[in-house]
């Protein structure tokens, strides 16, 4: 317990001793994490919009006249990307048509018999699932026609994939940059106390006792940077939501508090963990070398 208190005191001293460097590190970590958070939020929103549109993505399969859709139905049912299938009988299709056309519907049945074929309505999870599905469907000889919103679907899935890719790249870059910056700051702090640490090891301080202040410092920088980034993102996002609502009201931006909260918590945890790991790495490398007997 006393050790913990001493460690906190020493952390405070370390940060004050290199306050310029500490602030610089804090700002760097904050900006990098801000950029990371911003891209991630952007990607999340793109995904959200795409999935919103995807909810309405339906592939319609029209059978040849007189063909039953049973074998197509069986095949589609085993496809894991399909969320729902509905077979529509000629009678049901006619009812729908009547409902849609009202009085003019009589023209359809003038010939005496129902001219409409069997059809299937298939829903898939993602836009990118549609193209392979369509490829599977057109090979059935009993299928007359497959109708889907082809170009839109392809474009959507490209956008979605690209934004995920960009945010993943930025994630990797951001983590590497802030890890390096924090690692380096801790290393400078360690070297400024090099003598002290060596003496402490000689008189019997444990590795943990020596590491603690540096690890705390690293966590402070990582978590502090993340906190600043979250504050910045919060402000930016709030104004972005307002701007979108007043000008591009048709865009469906994420305003779910819980999702945003989870996202910010994740960002904070990322910062803190990164600070912890970097500083621990830096300090344990140093103490291990100093403790090795010659």
């Amino acid at each position: 317990m006393a050790s913990f208190k001493y460690a906190l005191r020493d952390t405070f001293r370390l940060i004050c001793r290199h306050w310029g460097l500490s602030i610089l590190t804090l700002i760097t970590a904050a900006s990098v994490l801000y950029i990371l958070g911003f891209t991630a939020l952007f990607a999340l929103n793109v995904r959200h919009m795409v999935s919103q549109i995807e909810g309405g993505l339906v592939v319609q399969v029209y059978m040849k006249k007189g063909e039953k859709p049973d074998d197509v139905y069986g095949k589609v049912k085993t496809n894991p990307t399909v969320t729902s299938i509905r077979a529509i009988s000629p009678e049901e299709a006619l009812d729908r048509l009547r409902a849609k056309l009202g009085n003019q519907a009589r023209a359809v049945t003038l010939m005496g018999e129902n001219p409409l074929p069997w059809s299937l309505e298939i829903q898939v999870q993602r836009a990118e699932h549609i193209t392979p599905l369509v490829r599977d469907l057109v090979v059935f000889p009993s299928v007359e026609e497959v109708i889907y919103s082809g170009k839109l679907v392809e474009r959507l899935s490209t956008i979605s994939r690209a934004s995920a890719g960009v945010s993943a790249t930025i994630l990797v870059l951001a983590v590497i940059i802030s890890a390096l910056v924090i690692f380096n700051t801790i290393r400078i702090a360690i070297y400024s106390r090099k003598e002290e640490i060596e003496v402490m090891l000689l008189i019997g301080a444990t590795k943990t006792y020596i590491s603690l202040p540096f690890v705390f410092q690293g966590m402070f920088l990582g978590a502090g940077g993340a906190l600043l980034a979250v504050a910045g993102l919060w402000a930016t996002y709030a104004s972005a939501v307002n701007a979108v609502r007043s000008t591009l009201a048709f865009l469906d931006i994420i305003v779910n508090q819980q999702i945003l909260l989870q996202f910010f918590l994740l960002l904070f945890a990322t910062g803190a963990t990164m600070g912890w790991m970097c500083s621990w790495l830096a300090v344990s490398r140093f103490t291990s070398r100093a403790l090795r007997p010659r």
Binding site: A2, E195, V199, M200, L202, I203, G204, K207, I210
Partner: protein
Amino acid sequence: MDIRLAGVTKVFEPDIVALEDIYLSIDKGEFVYLVGTTGSGKTTLLRLISREYLPTRGQITVGDVNLRKIGRGRLPFYRRDVGVVFQDYKLLPNLTVFENVAFVLEAMGIPPRVVQNRANEVIDQVGLWRRRFLKPPQLSGGEQQRVAIARAMANSPSIFLADEPTGNLDLRTSEEIMRLLLSINAAGTTVLVATHDQYLVDAYRQRLVELHNGRLKRDERRGRYFIDGEL
């Protein structure tokens, strides 16, 4: 704790033989001078005992611990039981006398109030009470030496190693420090002092171990000297 060296040889890369085939046995509570010309291996021997170095050949046991087998996790706890006064003091220049002593105790996880009492006690013992808020660069050589001693005795180690504790000091100050070391020994601590000081060795007669070019040249058990009529 007793210290046993059996066939200890220390070779520094590539071919500096600092110690060669040393057999030495020091009992608990003994006071031993370690003498010898410069470069004869005194500091090396002390560093082997504090496990800064590992012997190239041979075994060192302290108490029931074989220093070759001691693990990373146990090393700090071993070192807490071995107080060392380094030849170059190794005081931290930007800490005060008090802080230099206190941080050793803090590193053992001792609560602040106890640290304060104990640090003040040893600082008083070495006669630096009125200097306790000065920093090492503001102190004279003898005062720095005494801070180093206070730091080494702060956590009451079983073994006390002093490397030239009277180097560069005048006779009066040297005698003061000798008396300090003898009083530490009188409390039951095993004390090993590396020194060049022929006068002290003769004036305060204790067991004398002499090294010459890394070999054991002489091991004399002479009459024990007790300070101020204590017996």
